[in-house]
C-alpha cells in the first residue's frame, strides 16, 4: 500500500520539535521565488521568529573579497516593538509574502531601524589583529560571548553597536570558504543563550552558508553564459554593421573631393543609399525579434496561410527552378497562433528551404494533424542539409552558416512558436536535406 503526502509542507506544525519547525520553514523559504536578499532576510526571520529559533535579533555579515561587511540587522529596535512584531509573525496563516514584505519595510526604515547601524561595521579577514566577528569567520568557529564588557577581543565599535553583553557569532561556511556570519542575541528578553539554541543556530549557519555559496555560484555561471552569448552576438553585429559603414565612409570621403565628376557623385550617393538600406534591414530584423505580438492567439487556417505565402511575388521569385509541392487534407483543424507572426515564421522556414533546395531541387510543404492535438506544418527540402556543427545552435540568435545571413530567422521562428504555445522541430541529414516541423496547438474548426 502506498500513502501519499502533500509536498511541500504548507503549515508549520506548532507541536513539532523546534528543529523540525526550523527546517520546514527554511526548506520552504528556498522554494519561494524571492531574491537571494529576500531569502536571507527570511532566514534571519527564522532565527528571530517565535516558531523558529527564537533569538531576539539577528545580524548578517557577508564576505566581500577579504572583508566581512555588515549588511542587515533584523529585529525590533525597542522591547515594545518586539512584542508587536512577534505577535504579527506568530499570527496563524501568515505567509512568506507577508514576511518578505515586512522585512523589506523594516530595512527601508531609517529612523530607529537597526540595519543602518550594522552597515558601519566591516572587518578585514587578512588582518593580524583579530576581533570577535573576524575571528569567528577566519577560524570557521562558533563563538559564544557571555560578557562582552570583559572580553578584550570585542572591539569598541562592535560593542557600541550591539549594546548587549551576551551574543553568539555563527560563521556561514560553505565547502570551500566562509561566505558570511550571523550574530544573534536576546537583547529584549535577556534570556541566556543555551546549548540547544546554539545547535539550532549552527544548523541555520550551515544551511545559509551553502545557500549563499550555491546562489553566488549559479549567478556567476549565468553571468558568464550571458556574457559569452552577448560576446558572440556583439562580434556578429559588429561585422553586420562595419561592412556597410566602411563602404559608406569611403564613398562619402570621395564626395568631399571637388574634382569628383557628377556621374561619380551620383554613383557614390546611390551606393551610400543602398548601404544605409542594408543597415536598416539589419536593425529592422533585430527589432522584429524583440517586438513579437504578445496578444491573444487566434485560429488560423494553415491551408489559406500557405496559399497566401506561395502567392507572394518574392516567394515566386525565390521558388524559380524549384519544384514546390503543397499537401493539405481538407478536414484539418485550425492552428492557434498570432496571425502575422505565424505567417512570418512559416515564411522564414520556407525561405530557408527554397534557398537550400537550389536550382532543380524540391520543397514539400505538408499540413497534417499531429500528436497531442497539434497541427503540424512541415517544410522539407532536398538540399545539402545542415552541417553537424550548426545543428545544436540553430535557434540561437546570430548563429548562421550563410555568408550574408544574420542568423535571426530560426531564432524568430522559435520565439513565435514558444509564445503561441507550440514548438518547432528540425530534422536534417547531410546531403539528404532538412525538414522543419512547426507544431501549433490545434483549435477552432475540426
Amino acid at each position: 500500500m502506498i500513502q501519499r503526502h502533500a509536498f511541500p509542507l504548507q503549515e508549520l506544525q506548532p507541536d513539532a520539535p523546534r528543529e523540525v519547525q526550523l527546517l520546514s520553514f527554511i526548506g520552504q523559504i528556498f522554494l519561494q521565488p524571492f531574491s537571494l536578499e529576500d531569502n536571507l532576510l527570511a532566514l534571519l526571520t527564522a532565527l528571530t521568529a517565535g516558531s523558529g529559533v527564537g533569538f531576539n535579533r539577528a545580524m548578517l555579515f557577508l564576505v566581500e573579497g577579504r572583508t566581512l561587511r555588515g549588511r542587515w540587522w533584523l529585529g525590533p529596535p525597542t522591547p515594545e516593538e518586539a512584542c508587536t512584531i512577534w505577535e504579527v509573525l506568530s499570527t496563524p496563516g501568515i505567509g512568506f509574502v507577508e514576511i518578505v514584505d515586512y522585512n523589506r519595510a523594516l530595512l527601508e526604515r531609517r529612523e530607529g531601524g537597526l540595519s543602518h547601524r550594522v552597515e558601519r561595521l566591516s572587518y578585514n579577514l587578512d588582518e593580524g589583529r583579530d576581533t570577535i566577528p573576524s575571528l569567528s569567520a577566519r577560524r570557521r568557529e562558533i563563538l559564544h560571548v557571555r560578557d562582552a564588557d570583559c572580553e578584550p577581543l570585542v572591539d569598541e565599535g562592535f560593542r557600541d553597536v550591539i549594546g548587549v553583553r551576551e551574543f553568539l557569532c555563527i560563521p556561514l561556511v560553505s565547502r570551500d570558504d566562509v561566505v558570511g556570519e550571523i550574530v544573534v542575541d536576546n537583547a529584549f528578553t535577556g534570556a541566556p543563550i543555551e546549548a540547544p539554541d546554539i545547535r539550532l543556530a549552527c544548523l541555520c549557519g550551515l544551511i545559509a552558508g551553502n545557500y549563499i555559496y550555491t546562489s553566488l555560484l549559479t549567478k556567476k555561471m549565468m553571468d558568464m553564459e550571458k556574457l559569452a552569448a552577448l560576446g558572440e552576438a556583439g562580434v556578429f553585429l559588429l561585422h553586420q554593421l562595419r561592412n556597410p559603414l566602411t563602404v559608406i565612409g569611403g564613398f562619402a570621403d570621395q564626395l568631399l573631393d571637388v574634382k569628383l565628376s557628377e556621374s561619380k557623385k551620383r554613383r557614390n550617393l546611390t551606393i551610400i543609399r543602398k548601404e544605409i538600406k542594408r543597415l536598416e534591414r539589419v536593425i529592422g530584423k533585430i527589432g522584429r525579434l524583440t517586438r513579437l505580438n504578445s496578444g491573444p492567439v487566434v485560429s488560423l487556417d494553415p491551408k489559406s496561410m500557405i496559399e497566401e505565402l506561395l502567392a507572394l511575388p518574392a516567394i515566386k521569385v525565390k521558388g524559380r527552378g524549384r519544384h514546390i509541392r503543397f499537401e493539405c487534407p481538407p478536414d484539418l483543424p485550425d492552428a492557434l497562433g498570432h496571425r502575422l507572426d505565424a505567417a512570418e515564421a512559416v515564411r522564414n522556414v520556407l525561405d530557408n528551404a527554397l534557398e537550400a533546395a537550389t536550382w532543380g531541387g524540391e520543397v514539400v510543404i505538408r499540413c497534417a494533424g499531429g500528436p497531442d492535438r497539434t497541427v503540424v506544418i512541415s517544410i522539407a527540402d532536398n538540399g545539402p542539409g545542415i552541417a553537424p556543427g550548426m545543428r545544436e545552435r540553430l535557434f540561437e540568435p546570430f548563429a548562421t552558416s550563410k555568408k550574408n545571413g544574420m542568423g535571426l530567422g530560426l531564432a524568430f521562428v522559435k520565439r513565435v512558436m514558444d509564445i503561441a504555445g507550440g514548438r518547432v522541430e528540425v530534422e536534417s541529414r547531410e546531403g539528404r536535406g532538412t525538414e522543419v516541423r512547426l507544431m501549433f496547438r490545434a483549435g477552432g474548426k475540426e
Partner: protein
C-alpha cells in the same frame, strides 16, 4: 619607366572592391580585385603581386586557409588581413600575416600600412 606596385584584393563585397580599387589606384598602385579565394589563387598563379589584402570570411573557402596557402606559395609577399572582425586579431601572430586592419569608414590606416609594408620590401609607388 617605373612599374606600379601590384596589389591583389580578395574581398567578397563588390562595393568594397570598387572603393578599394579606386582609392588605391589614386595612390599609384595597380590593383586587381577578386571576390573569392579560388579566383585569388588563380590570379596568384598567373600574375606576380607585391602585396595581398584579404578578408577572413570568404565564400567557398576559409579566409585563413586561403592566407596560409598564399604564404606557402609566395613567402615573400606581404599580406594584410582586412576584416570587420576585431576578435580575430588575437590570433594574428599565429597566422603570420604582416598586418591586421579592421574595416573602417576611413581608409587612412589601410593606406598607411600598405605604404610601410611596400617600403620594407623595397617596392614604392
Amino acid at each position: 619607366m617605373k612599374t606600379k606596385p601590384r596589389i591583389l584584393i580578395v574581398e567578397d563585397e563588390r562595393s568594397l572592391c570598387l572603393l578599394y580599387r579606386e582609392e588605391l589606384e589614386k595612390e599609384g598602385y595597380q590593383v586587381t580585385t577578386v571576390l573569392d579565394a579560388a579566383s585569388a589563387l588563380q590570379a596568384l598563379n598567373t600574375e606576380p603581386f607585391d602585396l595581398i589584402i584579404s578578408d577572413i570570411r570568404l565564400p567557398g573557402a576559409n579566409g585563413l586557409e586561403f592566407i596560409r596557402s598564399v604564404m606557402e606559395r609566395r613567402k615573400n609577399v606581404p599580406v594584410i588581413i582586412n576584416t570587420a572582425y576585431e576578435s580575430y586579431m588575437q590570433d594574428f601572430s599565429t597566422w603570420a600575416a604582416d598586418e591586421y586592419v579592421v574595416k573602417s569608414g576611413s581608409l587612412d590606416e589601410l593606406k598607411k600600412k600598405i605604404r610601410v609594408l611596400l617600403e620594407k620590401s623595397h617596392v614604392a609607388a
